[in-house]
């Protein structure tokens, strides 16, 4: 019977990802190209925000993916701790630099938008601050991977850090709301409420989000393949030293 755990076999993972990657990259590129061109050139300017509203096509998807990448790392870490599949640990490792890049994009586009709209590059607002803290969590996680030589020890310790860090990231989020009411507007998209964004902006945004999700999956696959190859090289090196 086919099971999702089959992909925990590195050979199987390599074979499947090898076939999937060109499709993923093509689809991600197409979705991003359509979404961004549609959003940037074929939507009207907002009557109050002018053309600055269009940064939403980068800001919202990257912010979403910054959080989702951490959640993906959390799941991969859990799978590593429970079932000890190496591909899972390596996927978590591979996702971290991508997540941190999305975090930086979200922070930078937010600052660029905030300068003309709020009159400031940075405000100590709960959302902004929690992204800054998320950025620090990513840095700590990556630094811990870097610092430990033995790959299994590194995978174990970073997994524990990811679990504890997730709990504290959630606590920080609520602590920050308590700390300062903030400047950032409420959520643009939500599942349970009426959308508070006009359809003309909404559809290109959905395409952009799909593009970012696909891009994230493609990059994680790509980087995980690199990590698997690096691990094989490491194993070969160990074997040669033993002889």
């Amino acid at each position: 019977m086919a099971s999702v755990w089959e992909f925990a076999n590195p050979r199987k993972f390599m074979a499947v990802s090898d076939r999937a990657l060109p499709w993923l990259f093509t689809l991600a590129g197409a979705a991003l190209a359509i979404g961004l061109v549609w959003g940037f050139f074929f939507t009207p300017d907002d009557f109050r925000q002018g053309s600055t509203v269009k940064i939403i096509y980068l800001h919202v998807p990257s912010a979403m993916m910054a959080i989702n990448a951490w959640i993906m790392m959390l799941l991969a870490s859990l799978i590593w701790i429970v079932r000890r599949h190496h591909v899972s640990a390596l996927a978590a490792k591979a996702a971290a630099p991508i997540g941190v890049t999305f975090t930086v994009i979200a922070l930078a586009t937010g600052a660029i938008w905030g300068q003309p709209m709020w009159g400031t590059w940075w405000a100590w607002d709960p959302r902004l601050t929690s992204f800054l803290i998320l950025f620090l969590f990513y840095l700590g996680y990556m630094a811990l991977w870097q610092a430990i030589e033995d790959p299994d020890t590194a995978a174990d310790l970073t997994s524990v850090l990811c679990l504890v860090g997730s709990v504290f990231a959630v606590i920080s989020r609520y602590a920050l709301i308590f700390w300062n009411q903030g400047l950032h507007q409420g959520a643009t998209l939500s599942l349970d409420k009426e959308e508070n964004i006009a359809d003309v902006f909404y559809f290109p945004l959905l395409v952009c989000i799909a593009g970012f999700v696909l891009l994230f999956i493609a990059l994680v696959f790509y980087r995980t393949r690199t990590e698997i190859r690096a691990r094989r090289l490491y194993a070969i090196g160990l074997k040669e030293r033993m002889v």
Binding site: S172, L176, F178, W179
Partner: protein
Amino acid sequence: MLALFTRDLRLAIRAGGGFGLALAFFLIVTALVPFGVGPDTGVLTRIAPGILWVGALLACLLSLDRIFALDYEDGSLDLLATAPIPLEAVVATKAAAHWVTTGLPLTLAAPLLGVLLNLAPGGYLWLTISLAAGTPALSIIGTFGAALTVGLKRGGLLLSLLVLPLYVPTLIFGAELTRRGAEGQAVETPLALIAGITLGAAALLPFAAAAALRVNLR
């Protein structure tokens, strides 16, 4: 556990360094701030709760890498891991010893340093209470960070990078509690939250720290 606790206390006091260092650091940080922002007492009164809390947090950070490093080097950590008491209890005891040698002196010294920063009269009681409630959380979270980095050659800087983001909620509630106390506002909410963080950390983090130690001792 009691034997381990008294051993850690004795080591911290007799071996020098760790015990007085955190206090001296706290004093220096607090004394440096007026040089940076100017001697205006109004400004100092306003920022005193935050400065005292940040100072206490940094002072706490200083001695974290000593929690396990020395025991790891001379092998006594391996003995502790094979001892009849569970490793989780070892971790909790270590954290408690760290609190008694770092958090408790900081808590007791903080009102004195509050005078230097011209803390509002109502703030002294709540500064002490907030530090008494919050510094145990700092010690426990720090013990977890120390357990993660114990096997590393130059873990000190990495330890700060890992632990400081985890300190954010404690710092927010602690400083907020002191500020509200100093301004005579209601203090129940931040007090309950900071106590919740301390108790939650004390209940859960010893398990995570013990798991990390087991990996590092493998």
